[in-house]
């Protein structure tokens, strides 16, 4: 009986939402503001592909959408990741073990040497991916994930090493602050959060697309340090 009632309530709520929203236009078509006649509509997907490069200066269209047109959503994504990392840190609150990490069983010579050789290259590649996020495929999230996998490699190969947790925390907090600060500067200068207030420059140049590279570097550092801290914490618990 209770199941039936709850099902009916659910159906009623769903019908209400459907009725309330059935005339609201979503997605593709919207009245164009500014130029053109007021009745003219614009297809957003086509608009981003054709005008995105010129408007935001980012030749990677995905970046121009992720940070140019939908920057606030990206801030939300970064916040979700931050909350997940914080929650994990709270749940896995392990006391500092008295065991010296150097006691751990050392990895074999091949793994050790490979890890030492690959670690700087992986860091370099991750940095390349997020620095060139507005020009080539890639971006802050991908670069950060590559950097975090470099930290994972250190855990696999060089068991004695531990990450500098204070450094990670400082990098994470600073990059988050930079993201929000850039957005607030846009709000102060042009009246819109995350407004691209810097000159867009010429396409395909490293210093172009205004705030997008700055924010991508911040996101890359933030994601890298967050995921690296997760790996470090889990590995510490596993020891």
């Amino acid at each position: 009986m209770r199941k039936l009632i709850s099902l009916m309530v659910l159906l009623a709520v769903a019908a209400g939402i459907g009725l309330a929203l059935h005339r609201t236009p979503f997605g593709a078509e919207r009245a164009k503001t500014g130029a053109g006649s007021p009745g003219e509509t614009v297809n957003f997907g086509r608009y981003y592909v054709h005008e995105g490069v010129e408007e935001t200066g980012a030749t990677n269209i995905v970046s121009s959408v992720v940070l140019g047109y939908r920057g606030f959503d990206t801030l939300g994504e970064v916040t979700v990741l931050f909350i997940a990392a914080t929650g994990l840190a709270a749940v896995l609150r392990v006391k500092a073990t008295s065991r010296d990490p150097r006691d751990a069983e050392p990895a074999s010579l091949v793994v050790f040497t490979g890890c030492r050789f690959l670690f700087p290259l992986l860091l370099l590649f991750g940095t390349y991916v997020f620095v060139h996020g507005h020009l080539a495929p890639g971006g802050g999230f991908q670069g950060g994930a590559v950097i975090a996998s470099a930290f994972l490699l250190v855990y696999l190969g060089c068991r004695g090493r531990t990450l500098n947790e204070t450094g990670l925390r400082v990098a994470e907090s600073l990059s988050g602050l930079v993201f929000v600060a850039v957005g607030l500067v846009g709000l102060a200068v042009g009246g819109a959060f995350l407004l691209n207030f810097l000159p867009t420059g010429s396409p395909y140049a490293l210093f172009s697309a205004g705030i997008i590279p700055i924010v991508y570097v911040a996101i890359g550092l933030k994601v890298g340090s967050e995921l690296g801290a997760i790996i470090d914490r889990l590995a510490e618990g596993a020891r």
Partner: protein, 84 residues
Amino acid sequence: MTIFQALLILVMIAAAVFAARSRDLMNAVIACAMVSLMASIIFYFLQAPDVAMAEAAIGAGLTTAIFIFAINRTVRHEDDEKAD
């Protein structure tokens, strides 16, 4: 190229079925990593290199490591659950 993609998808489905049916969780995790790796290659062929990069780094790399850490702290074989 379509034959290659179909092959990738077949391997992906096989790995996914194996991951769901395996009683040894370590094997299941490795099969999951394989699914992610195949998905990332398919994404690359579908001209989505951004997604491919994220899938390879997070899906095949970090998630696998996190699962393995979790298995280290719990049980490896599903039948062991009752014994503990």
